[in-house]
């Protein structure tokens, strides 16, 4: 799983910004990107908790931070190095940050 996040300090260099459409079509074609999407703005977020049987809802994301998740991509890569190569070519690697997190292996 690759979380696409904003960052308080984006890369100031405006040169050679990669294009998101090119990134998506290349990685779809290679079979490395299984699916993914941008998310609606955080103003649309609702946080849900159940405590002692009570449904608790709150408006907005669960953490007030400058870095928020704005999208995700589901990648299929052989190892971390391959995933890093895919991530570094994403435009948000410069404008924000990306977090790579494999799916947990349940019982082996």
């Amino acid at each position: 799983m690759m979380f696409v996040c904003t960052d308080a300090e984006p890369d100031p260099d405006p040169e050679n910004r990669p294009d998101i459409d090119v990134w998506v079509s290349e990685n779809d074609a290679s079979g490395r990107r299984l699916q993914g999407s941008a998310l609606a703005p955080e103003s649309a977020a609702t946080t849900v908790r159940v405590r002692q049987g009570q449904l608790l809802l709150s408006d907005g994301p669960f953490a007030e931070t400058q870095e928020v998740i704005v999208g995700f991509d589901l990648l299929e890569c052989a190892d971390l190095d391959e995933a890093i190569e895919v991530a570094r070519a994403h435009p948000m690697a410069r404008e924000g940050r990306l977090e790579l997190r494999p799916f947990a292996e349940l019982e082996r």
Binding site: C77, A78, D79, L80, D81, A83, I84, E85, L100, P102, A104, E105
Partner: protein, 409 residues
């Protein structure tokens, strides 16, 4: 072919073990993917050798003997845990890739490659720098976790947790057990060398000597043997050898650190210096480590401090400052030019280096300015600057040395 004298057997065992350890660990990790198992089995094989060889003699192929014992131990453990057949089959085949001196070349190469894979995995940039240093010492050098903890000033349980976390990260995040190729290699090699450099400089034993310098040198030699075409590897090994050549001359009888100009040069390790000079002579393009080694070479080959070739040192710093324009490099460059071309040349470069602002209130920058000012003959102003530097000094001995300079003018 066996040597039965206990003392000779013990030293042969120690030598064979330090050479064989990373090979065994690397091969077992490749086949089983289990780091702790690989380390435990390698350790057990070494322990058995140190116990048996002094009595029964060193086998003709000590590396092969150790590999076989470690492999059989791993098979036992995995069989008890009833692991998949594939791993067991591959382990059984591992016997064929024992580092047998009589065996054919391609087999040797495969084993060599394992150790390189292990180095690149331990130094993967997705691990924290602390974890990389600890893992390299533990897995490749075989240093016990307790010893690493003691030198790096953390508790043994903290170190054990750090190592466990690093190994889980490798497994969970899918860090590959592989040497990167092509442009990725150029990107990753500096990170590996940085870990070796940190190993060399981090941590001191109770006697004030660097704790892991020998391990860092051994790793640099291994890396040099595995990647002979990489100039920066040779540069780093040469830099280590130059710095290490001064290990016996660095302190006076009371344990105070001696600067280069006050060291007894006859106590430098001249064999190490000669080896480092040979390495540099065979090194082509200069990277940051090769340049630092060339600077160290100027100091190492000067008959006295006064005879130092400061012009060459200044040229090397010019080149280094182009590659790595860090404040510390700029500062050292000003010092070198001060000696090579006179104090005003040094002061001009110092002003330039300070223009960025990162050297403001830096005690070394002030001390350099004070020294250059004194050499210009402005002793009153130099004394004021030495006192300012003393007020900012990070340590008490440093503060005393600066105040002493202020009084001497």
């Amino acid at each position: 072919m066996t040597d039965r004298r206990p003392a000779a057997a013990a030293s042969a065992a120690a030598a064979a073990c330090s050479d064989a350890y990373p090979r065994i660990v690397a091969a077992l990790i490749r086949v089983t993917g289990e780091w702790t198992l690989a380390e435990d089995c390698a350790q057990e094989a070494l322990a058995l050798a140190l116990q048996r060889w002094p009595e029964q003699g060193v086998p003709a192929n000590p590396g092969g003997w150790l590999m076989t014992v470690a492999r059989n131990r791993a098979i036992d453990v995995l069989r008890r845990a009833s692991v998949e057949r594939r791993k067991l089959r591959e382990l059984a085949v591992l016997a064929l890739t024992d580092p047998d001196p009589a065996s054919a070349q391609p087999v040797q190469e495969e084993v060599v490659d394992d150790r390189l894979r292990l180095i690149f995995t331990c130094c993967h940039p997705a691990l924290t720098l602390e974890a990389r240093v600890a893992l390299t010492l533990r897995t490749i050098c075989g240093v016990p976790a307790a010893d690493i903890a003691r030198v790096l000033l953390v508790s043994e349980s903290t170190m054990t947790r750090r190592l466990t976390r690093a190994k889980s990260k490798i497994a969970d995040a899918g860090i590959p057990y592989r040497v990167p190729s092509g442009p990725a290699l150029a990107e990753r090699l500096p990170g590996v060398l940085a870990v070796l450099y940190l190993l060399f400089t981090r941590g001191y034993n109770a006697d004030g000597r660097p704790a892991f310098a020998e391990e860092a040198i051994r790793l640099a030699r291994l890396l040099k043997q595995l990647m002979p075409e990489q100039n920066e590897v040779s540069g780093l090994l040469a830099l280590f050898l130059f710095q290490h050549s001064r290990r016996d001359a660095r302190q006076d009888a009371e344990g105070n650190l001696l600067s280069l100009d006050r060291q007894d040069r006859s106590r430098w390790d001249h064999a190490a210096i000669a080896e480092a000079l040979d390495l540099l002579a065979a090194t082509g393009r200069n990277g940051p480590y090769a340049l630092q080694a060339r600077i160290a070479a100027c100091h190492a080959t000067a008959a006295s401090a006064d005879a130092t070739d400061w012009r060459t040192i200044a040229r090397c710093y010019d080149e280094l400052a182009r590659l790595q324009p860090t404040p510390v490099v700029q500062l050292n460059r000003a010092v070198a030019h001060g000696y090579a071309h006179g104090p005003s040349a040094g002061l001009a470069l110092l002003a330039q280096a300070r223009a960025g602002g990162s050297l403001a209130d830096h005690p070394h920058a002030l001390a350099v300015q004070a020294d250059l000012t004194a050499r210009q003959g402005e002793h009153d102003r130099a004394a004021v600057l030495f006192r300012q530097a003393a007020a900012l000094a990070h340590s008490e001995p440093e503060r005393r040395a600066l105040l002493d300079r202020a009084d001497r003018g």
